[in-house]
Amino acid sequence: MRLKHIFYILLFTTSLYTLGYKSSGDSPTSVLKTTKTDYIAGDPITLEFEANTSLDLKLILKNSNGTSIVEPSKNGNKHLFVIPKNFTKKSGPCYWRLLFKGQITSQGILNITPNMDNPVHIESYFGPRSIIAGNKDYSMLVVVPTDLYDNPVPKSTKVSVKHQFENNIQIDSISTGNLYASKMIFSTEKTGRILVSSSCENINSKEFTSKVFPSTAMSFEIDYKREHKFADGNQVVEFSTSIIKDKFDNVLSNGTMVYFIIENNDGYQLKTMGTTLNGIASAKMLHPTQKESWKIKAYITGASESNTLELNFDAAIKNYKVHISENNREIVIGPLESFMDQVVPDGIPIKMGIYDLNKKLVDTKIITSRKGMGKFTLSNDFFSHGNYFLEIKSAGITKKFNIELK
């Protein structure tokens, strides 16, 4: 019961208070004299109200940029609100509210339309800057034509888009919507450069460009070039591809990586690589040092591959002599003679494995030939007296000896 009473008392006092407050204020009698509501951006706008001079009126403005309060200049009964330039320049609705002692007494909207009398500006973006040939990939042109005050032009303003590729110049007309206009420029089948520009209301944008890069490579042929067919371990064999193209007959971009995988006699996959220049990639390998037959295949990984090329090398060195000194401590190999009985170029590796009698490897020595000869010295300091088994390997020819070091 008590609670109820308190509630009634509260309700009563509150309503009294509100009524009292309302009645105690001056009821504002302001009348809007300005009738025009539609403006062009940049036009000066003044709102005129007629009200009692003693009243302290304020105008709140709100547009997409923000909110501001304007104080009037008074002239007799007239309250003149000059709308600041940053509000008059901005297109779109500009809401106003007249305030008196924190109370909204009246409100309205000013419709400001973009100023199309003066030349427009064009803000445009184009990307990505490179696309892949074949009518699927595209770059997108986004055009934002704006008026003098950077207001987007009205919806459905016509924008013409021009793009050039080789001898073709195409003009399309699009219209703005959602404040901008956009156009997808699809790639061509040919590689090259697409130049794009746009214009709106006789104002032209600057030039943009997108490069059309070739599409996925098609299979290609490989070939080789060498000075002779002998495995001398010195000359260089060069592999090269045919001009690699995509399915639209475009030559691949310079620098495209081509891997050449070479399978040798023993089934090992050797590898060399090269990058294309005008569609041709070339890569080099040294001639092997022994009789070999190579199977070569080139890859652009994931995209294409070449034919398999077979390449045989004949042995350049058919045989060589090994001379062992009297105390067996000096082993001279050679002369190593090549396919025309000439002395081989310096640098043929000669490997000698030294094993003890139990065929356990004691040491491996590798030297390279000089003037066709190679010499191993088994010095006293390193190899004590006893029986050893030697395995000499060079140019794919293995020779074995049992010696006794004295």
Partner: protein, 1028 residues
């Protein structure tokens, strides 16, 4: 009225002329001077704001007492920073000489001896070293002020006149604000003995005879003076706390929790002789020879407490030579303090006694005694020897910085400063490498920030504080911790907005390359600028630890005020003293002047014996040095000398150790050496060398040399075998055989595409136009998996540049657990080719590295291993991963002309050779080895750096030991969270390569039956040290 002290005037003139002119050639090359200059620059620009963003991603200058820095900063407004530095340097010199004079007079009560002390102070090697080699200006300033304060303190204690309390406290305050350690330890080591001396003097006054001073007499005097002592003690404690209160608060808030940084003064001087030289022999210098005299004098009754203090300082200064300093100081203090300052104080404390000694030998009783007993010629010779010894120490100390420069050559900073100001380069952090302490001078000249810094007590990043390195900049000298720290900054630079590296040391080039950095340009001062792509610029607002305005004001106002106050209070007395405008009675301590007579001859003998022992030790040391360093006296020495010469690239010297009968001329040898390039010959530092002489005969020997090289990438172990010969009593090395391989042609032609990009096409300070921004190349991740091998998580995979332009690749992986909580992230380091040609593929592996030794419990390995890896400790099991891959157009480091020429599986690994078919010399080839399972899935990625380079058109052999990966665990191979430039990888794959031929990868690999895998594939990444 007394005469002007000619000796003091002479000391001042000589001191200012000598030190004042020498500092222009030494101070900038010292360890510390440029750091003080940087701090001064901070105060010159923002006096009251203690936060400086330029070092350590921000630190507070309240970590160091500010007086000297503020003085330099203030003076810099007149004539620039260096003007300030040298002016303060000159002031410190004057203060030191006059301070030494006053200290000398105080101790001996004789103005003449004071003059001697001042003159000796000018030439004391400890002062020369502290100023000209260490550049410790604040320390010198504080010590000098302390010496000025000592007479005042004495007078306060002795007379109880309040004006002396005031003067002594005013000077103490100045000392506190210039250096914190000096007054604190000064209290213990200088002021306590001084109190003891005052009490002795007071006792003396009462009993009139030294011999009558007993403990009881002493205690009575102590009681009498007690309140004066307490007053001074508490007042000075109050000053120590308040004058640099912000410092104490900062120390409390940011306690030094870092791993102790090794310092030479903590070494065992007998083991590390270089430390012994710098931290013991040089500061002591000639004083070492008359140590018995010091002991004799310091342990006389009046100086007894100084004697105790002096002995303690001497002992603590010996560092790690004996275990005593460690026991006395405790582990923490031992590891934080640099012990050389104890030696500094000991030698300074000895100066008055040394002055007294010189006085007595020049014109006192020792002279008479020696002339009588040993003849006047001997006396003169002795005098000459002492003066000669002093001069030798002076020249030796001064020349140390010349012959063994502690700093790299002076770098012209202007081009770097210009570079940083250009094109908004200062929007990113930079890192200098190989600059030495000059990095501080660079920082002082620019607003740009670095992650590094040169005041290690203020470091904040755990990457730095958990390692015992002073700077990343000289990380190669700090072994595993150094390179480890550096690698973290290089691998994840975007974390620190680190985009530019200024390299003054070629040593770091390979690590930069393999971490994905590339050379941008060489500045005209020879500094190479390295750049990393895809690093975001610094945010415009960076956080800082702010302190209250009160503290800022205290820090800005108190220090210089203490100087002003001290000046005003003390100037009156100095004025009277200097101008003699008012008769002042001589200070109290002058009454205790000792009559020097009857010098005990026994001491002369003892001192001679001591000097003889020292000389013997010195001679023995020299002999050891000779034996160790005479290069060809034994097989061991010649091998060591040979590798030392190679390490320092002194090829002429190296050649002189080769067998003269082997007919290898120097020209031929140089040819052979100059053609070998590679990580060992160009980027390695010999870390240790183990020489095993096998089979030594009279005239020949065989040596197995196991070397360990520090390279920026890995630690390299290599064994060499040499045959050694003895000819004419000298040992020589037999030259080893060379590769005879020669390419078939003289001239080679190579064609290829080269690339160039320019940042902006029009010169403007505006933001780059969007049409001037390069499109990011498209990459495609072909496979990616989260795997676990031996407890360590890695993300492995393969990716391809599917665009038509070369691309730089930045790969960042993040690990998540089942609840999608992020566990760790890291970038790809070595296990990737960072620069890819169009359509090129690369395997990759991302290891998750933790911050090494973040818990101090982990023991730090004692030896260097740059490849040391600290796996991150994850709290939970990672189950998912996210891979963010960014491509940016690359135009450099695109050399791809190395082929896999030969291959053979043998019992000791896979043997093969690389052939360089192009026209650039490959300095460091790297093999990336991908492991595939039987179902042709990538399961592991490994790498190997080849030790030798591949010369143009030649082969290089390698040997690779395949890994055992049988216990590899695949955790996740879902690629739905792989992104390229922010776009889903699957979308790019669908768009660019919808019909990808997945067979190609496996077709390029080798069948190889290994432990846990069936195929392997080799990829080659080549680093070119000198691109042509």
């Amino acid at each position: 009225m007394k005469k002007t002290n000619t000796l003091l005037v002479l000391a001042l003139i000589v001191g200012i002329a000598f030190h004042g002119s020498a500092i222009f050639f030494t101070l900038e090359y010292t360890y510390d001077a440029l750091i003080h200059l940087f701090f001064a620059d901070h105060y010159a620009n923002s006096w009251f704001e203690p936060w400086d963003f330029r070092w350590y991603t921000g630190f507070t200058v309240q970590a160091y007492p500010p007086l000297v820095h503020q003085a330099i900063g203030l003076l810099s407004h007149i004539g620039g920073l260096k003007f300030g530095l040298f002016t303060v340097g000159l002031l410190a010199i004057i203060l030191f000489i006059t301070g030494a004079y006053r200290f000398g007079v105080l101790i001996t009560g004789d103005r003449k001896i004071g003059g001697y002390t001042a003159l000796l102070a000018v030439f004391s090697s400890t002062f020369i070293e502290t100023l000209h080699i260490f550049g410790q200006l604040p320390s010198i300033a504080a010590l000098s002020i302390l010496m000025h304060a000592l007479p005042e303190i004495y007078l306060w204690l002795k007379t109880g006149k309040y004006k002396y309390l005031l003067t002594s406290l005013s000077l103490t305050a100045v000392a506190v604000t210039s250096h914190h350690v000096t007054p604190i330890f000064g209290m213990v080591f200088f002021i306590f003995p001084l109190i003891g001396m005052v009490i002795m003097d007071d006792s003396m006054d009462r009993v009139k005879d030294v011999k009558k001073i007993t403990l009881k007499v002493f205690l009575i005097s102590f009681k009498k003076l007690f309140w004066r002592i307490v007053t001074f003690g508490f007042s000075s404690l109050f000053l120590i706390i308040t004058c640099i209160l912000p410092y104490w608060i900062n120390s409390k808030n940011n306690p030094i929790t870092q791993v102790p940084i090794p310092h030479g003064s903590r070494d065992n001087f007998l083991e590390v002789t270089s430390s012994g030289l710098v931290f013991f022999v040089i500061p002591w210098g000639i004083l070492l020879f008359i140590l018995p005299y010091f002991m004799y004098r310091f342990y006389s009754k009046r100086y007894l407490f100084f004697g105790l203090s002096f002995s303690m300082l001497t002992l603590l200064g010996t560092g790690g030579t004996t275990p005593l300093p460690l026991k006395l100081l405790g582990e923490t203090a031992f590891n934080i303090l640099t012990l050389d300052r104890f030696t500094l104080w000991a030698t300074i404390m000895a100066l008055p006694i040394f002055g007294e000694f010189m006085y007595r030998i020049v014109e006192g009783d020792i002279k008479t005694l020696m002339q009588k007993k040993l003849g006047s010629v001997y006396h003169r010779i002795m005098g000459g020897v002492i003066i000669g010894g002093m001069l030798f120490m002076v020249i030796f100390t001064m020349s140390l910085g010349y012959f063994r420069p502690s700093q790299p050559q002076k770098i012209k900073m202007l081009p770097i400063v210009n570079f940083l100001n250009q094109d908004q380069h200062d929007k990113w952090r930079y890192l200098p490498l190989g600059f030495g302490d000059q990095m501080a001078w660079l920082s002082a000249q620019t607003k740009a920030m670095t992650v590094d810094g040169n005041y290690h007590s203020a470091r904040r990043l755990p990457e730095l504080t958990t390692r015992a390195i002073e700077r990343i900049e000289n990380s190669k000298f700090r072994g595993v911790e150094g390179i480890g720290s550096l690698q973290q900054f290089l691998t994840v630079p975007e974390k620190y907005n680190l985009k530019y590296i200024f390299s003054n040391d070629k040593f770091y080039d390979p690590i930069l390359y393999f971490c994905g950095w590339h050379r941008l340009q060489q500045l005209e001062n020879g500094i190479m600028v390295w750049e990393k792509l895809n690093v975001p610029p610094l945010p415009s607002i960076i956080s800082k630890d702010d302190v209250s305005t009160t503290l800022k004001l205290m820090w800005g106002i108190i220090p210089l005020s203490t100087v002003l106050i001290a000046f005003i209070i003390n100037i009156q007395l100095i004025w009277y003293r200097v101008l003699k405008s008012k008769k002042i009675s001589p200070p109290d301590y002058m009454t205790y002047k000792k009559d020097y007579k009857n010098f005990p001859f026994g001491l002369v003998i003892i001192n001679h014996i001591w000097a003889a022992i020292l000389l013997l030790c010195l001679a023995y040391g020299m002999y050891l040095f000779y034996i160790k360093n005479t290069t060809q006296i034994s097989p061991d020495n010649v091998v060591k000398a040979y590798y030392d010469a190679l390490d320092f690239k002194e090829f002429q010297r190296a050649h002189s150790y080769l067998d003269p009968e082997s007919d290898v001329t120097l020209a031929q040898y140089m040819l052979e050496v100059s053609v070998t390039d590679g990580i060992l010959s160009s980027y390695a530092k010999l870390d240790s060398i183990g020489i095993e002489i096998i089979d030594k005969k009279k005239k020949s020997a065989k040596a197995k040399i196991s070397t360990q090289w520090i390279t920026p990438l890995e630690k390299v172990y290599k064994n060499y075998y040499h045959e050694l010969l003895k000819r004419n009593g000298q040992w020589y090395i037999k030259p080893s055989k060379l590769d005879n391989d020669i390419p078939p042609d003289q001239l080679f032609v190579a064609n290829g595409s080269t690339f160039y990009t320019h940042g902006r096409r029009r010169i403007t300070t505006q933001q780059t136009h969007h049409e001037d921004i390069l499109k990011q190349p498209l990459l495609e991740i072909l496979s990616a998996k989260l795997v676990q091998l031996n407890g360590q998580y890695s993300i492995i995979g393969e990716l391809q540049n599917v665009d038509d332009v070369p691309s730089d690749v930045v790969l960042k992986a993040t690990l998540y657990n089942d609840d999608n909580t992020e566990l760790a992230n890291f970038n790809a380091k070595y296990h990737i080719k960072h620069k890819l040609m169009p359509k090129e593929t690369t395997p990759f592996k991302i290891n998750f590295e933790g911050i090494a030794w973040s818990s101090t419990k982990d023991t730090i390995p004692p030896t260097f291993n740059p490849d040391e890896f600290t796996p991150i400790s994850l709290e939970e099991q990672p189950t998912k991963f996210n891979l963010q891959c960014a491509g940016n157009v690359a135009i450099t480091d695109l050399y791809k002309s190395v082929s896999l020429q030969e291959l053979e599986y043998t019992d000791h690994g896979i043997e093969g050779s690389l052939f360089n078919s192009g026209i650039q010399e490959v300095t460091i080839p790297q093999l990336l080895i991908s492991y595939y399972s039987s179902d042709e899935e990538l399961i592991w990625v490994d790498h190997q750096f080849l030790i030798d380079g591949v010369r143009v058109q030649r082969k290089q052999f390698f040997n690779y030991h395949p890994r055992d990966i049988s216990n590899i665990k695949l955790i996740n191979s879902n690629m739905e969270n792989c992104f390229i430039n922010g776009t889903l990888n699957s979308e790019i794959a669908e768009k660019i390569n919808p019909n990808r031929n997945k067979e190609h990868i496996i077709k390029q690999s080798q069948p190889f039956k290994g432990n846990g895998y069936d195929f392997i594939k080799f990829d080659i990444n080549s680093y070119i040290g000198n691109p042509k």
